[in-house]
Amino acid sequence: MGTIRMDRRLFLKAAGATAGVAATTQVACLSYFKKGRSAAAENREVPTTCELCPNKCSAIAVVEGGLVKKLNPNPENPKSRDMLCARGNAAIKQVYDPDRIKKPMIRMGARGEGKWKEVSWDEAFDFAAKKLAEVKDKYGPQASLWSSTEGFQEVFFKNLGLAFGSPNLVRHPTLCLASVNLAYSATFGTVPSFDLLNSKFVIMSGANRFESIITPDTMDLIGGVMERKAKLVYLDPRFTVTAAKADEWYPIKPGTDLAFILAMIHVIIQENRHSKDFVAAFTTGFDELAEHVKQYTPEWAEKETEIPAKDIIRIAREFADAAPRSLYYAGRRSSWYQNDFQMRRAQAILNAIIGNWDQVGGMVPNAKLPKGEFLFMPWDEPKAPRVDEIEKHFPLAAKGDGVYLKLRENVLSGKPYPIKAWMVYKQDPMNAMPDQAKTLKMIEGMDFIGVIDVQMSDMAWYADVVFPESAYLERTDPVEVMAGIWPAVVYRQQVVKPIHDTKPNLEIVQGLAKRLGLSDYFDYTIEQWVEAEFKELPIPMAMEHMKKHGVWAASGKPVYGKTLNPDFRFVTKTGKIELFSQRLQEAGYDPLPVYAAPVQPPGDRFRLILGRVGYFTHANQSNNVWLNEFMKENDLWINPKPAERLGIRNGALVEVASSVGKVKLKARVTEEIRPDCVFMLHGFGKKSKLQSLVYNVGASDAVILETAWDKVSGNAAFHETFVKVANA
């Protein structure tokens, strides 16, 4: 095999074949700072790590006259490589956004009325600490809820919640990718990465990788599809950019992906195309699986999915024949249906039986790097059980993350015990959770709400006190190890001093801790914390390196096949890859994925589906002036056939109503969606007037989404809402 030509010439290097192993494409990182650049001069270039989405791309901030002028990609990062997306480039406007919260604020009018008083930090801390102490005295520490989304400084916020004595930390995964994480863990004992750089055949269910940008997957896949002759089969009710670039697009009937996957397994096993050696050596439960999928014929699946049986058979054959360089990609934001966990399990099983595990172009267990830990004073573990009763209802789910929607149900019912204070860090539950009316009800029931955020999110708008956090370009954060095929360490350091009266999260946490008598647990500076982390990094002169480069990549050469020796024990009950899962059976779930046809919308209704575009990921990005230019308001995608039937014209205002709410937005009559679905983009129709570009513009999906969750992981099921659409 020869080398593979690629365009990503700055840092990608195609490596030739080594004896007996097919050629693998590898990453070699060029040094940005070899070119005689300096991080010290008046016009500085400071390496840091982007925070606009969870990808953690490395960027170089160009500072001129004290202002961040430009963010350049830092090619030393093996994940983000030499790219920075629209959001990353627009991070400058997060700092210089006129809507930013410039001082701590205490609410004066009713919640959500928008009457605020700017106060000093002392006043804000005193006020919040007093309220939190009141709740603690009256109801106990467990009556406080601590919500957060991942971020380098999230750890301090979580620790404050725990030190305060609350078991009720709830994080984003159950609004995002908890079902994938749990399904792959249940099968392989870990959540692997997908080696799209080397894969020859990729199937994606709705993982819209060319609009929902994930590094390096998005770049690897476009290179694969367009340059390296990889084949992409894509299932999605909507014609996305990924569909447009795919070799084959199937507008699958929503909620039936599991039937497609089961039929693929059926074909592969029936035609003996699975990897017999791998299955025998590393998996358990194959016979049960073979027996179980006998019922799931391609002809049956055609009726469920609307994908022709002959195509399912052909795809299954091509998929198995391309193994081990073929994969069924897992995706993120995998919270769609109530059977989500089982659908992801089926994907994991399909991947397992073709033997792509730990292979070039297949699924690869993540390599990790050690990092030092700052030793802080430990606190007593909170005694109360969690309010979401996770152990009882979701025994397999990640305890530390909680289960968001079940938690909200329990808070609203007051059972098993009341929650009266709600602290939120870097999250907007008003838009992140479905059924905004319920969230508002939850807000109503709170004696106290405190929000820490860079901007006035809808959640902050309903808070009693808002603590303005410094933007990422104004902060130094803990060091992050990014596990992956190419593990790396990234570091975020302060680029410019805060331009407003804001603080990094650690200092906000310390301000509260001091007044709550918890100072001893937070008796350190960010510098001390980071220094401890640097100490155990496998990097010579770690601190100097990280300050100069912002990132360190382990090696350009990923190692494959470490787990492929007969003595390797997978972190599962049997120590093998569990096709049949006894653990699931014991917990009362199907040990093999069982298909149940999803309820389809009645004739006068549509299924509401969600998605992303490349320039907005989170609800807060639509208010970034450089991104907002691309889409000033969201609209409702509807197929011309039903639109004609309903008399809806392109651009007309329509009312979209579900059982929990209704919104008005403009219709986009488009061929690019199935006739039984409608679609709207996330992040518009804001209630916060300090999201001035999107305040009351378009509509928020959270208003009409109904509450439903995946039974095993508790992941919110965002595609289970049926809506009526009519001219407004």
Binding site: K70, N72, C85, A86, T218, M219, M226, L627, E671, E672
Partner: protein, 183 residues
């Protein structure tokens, strides 16, 4: 030593464009382009009927033409071409008459309200002169644009144009555009 002749150009593999807009925002930051204006953009062509559909994206900006009609109509000579082919506007000489905006076949120019002059893509000549890539080229996740010197036979742009089929937009204008779209 005699300076070697240079001719900068962009070769674009539009098939790889995912319309993520990174190039547009990077340019905005690098060149302080006002909100509402843009020096580069992405054309979209959507066609077909469900479920037989197609979307094509095509990034575009100033074509840095060989015979730029914008320069020909400029009454003050403010629009000029560097020896390396980059077409620039000398803001000191620009009187804001906007003839060039009319003359450009690609609508690649805009009137900069604050300064009263006409602006457009400079191919980030200030970066290029330092040996860096234009901001749009550098930031692109899928590396749609390839920047280089057509006169350099070892350059990637040279190689691509020698080995791949390509087209230019509006060749009938005689402008000699230097944005090459691979087919």
């Amino acid at each position: 030593m005699a300076m070697k002749k240079k001719r900068y150009a962009l070769v674009l593999d539009s098939r790889k464009c995912i319309n993520c807009k990174a190039c547009v925002v990077a340019c905005k930051a690098e060149n302080q382009v006002p909100v509402g204006n843009t020096r580069n953009w992405i054309n979209e062509a959507r066609q077909g009927e469900y479920p037989k559909l197609r979307i094509d994206f095509e990034p575009e900006q100033c074509h840095h033409c060989e015979h730029p009609s914008c320069a020909r109509v400029c009454p003050t000579g403010a629009t000029w071409m560097r020896k390396d082919g980059i077409v620039l506007v000398n803001y000191d000489d620009c009187i804001g008459c906007r003839y060039c905006m009319v003359a450009c076949p690609y609508d690649a120019r805009y009137f900069h309200e604050e300064s009263g002059t006409v602006h457009k893509c400079t191919l980030c000549s200030h970066r290029v002169d330092k040996g860096d890539l234009p901001a749009c080229v550098e930031t692109c996740p899928s590396k749609v644009r390839v920047f280089g010197d057509l006169e350099d036979p070892t350059s990637r742009v040279h190689e691509l144009l020698a080995t791949r089929r390509y087209r230019v937009k509006e060749p009938q204008t005689g402008n000699g555009p230097q944005l090459y779209y691979l087919l």
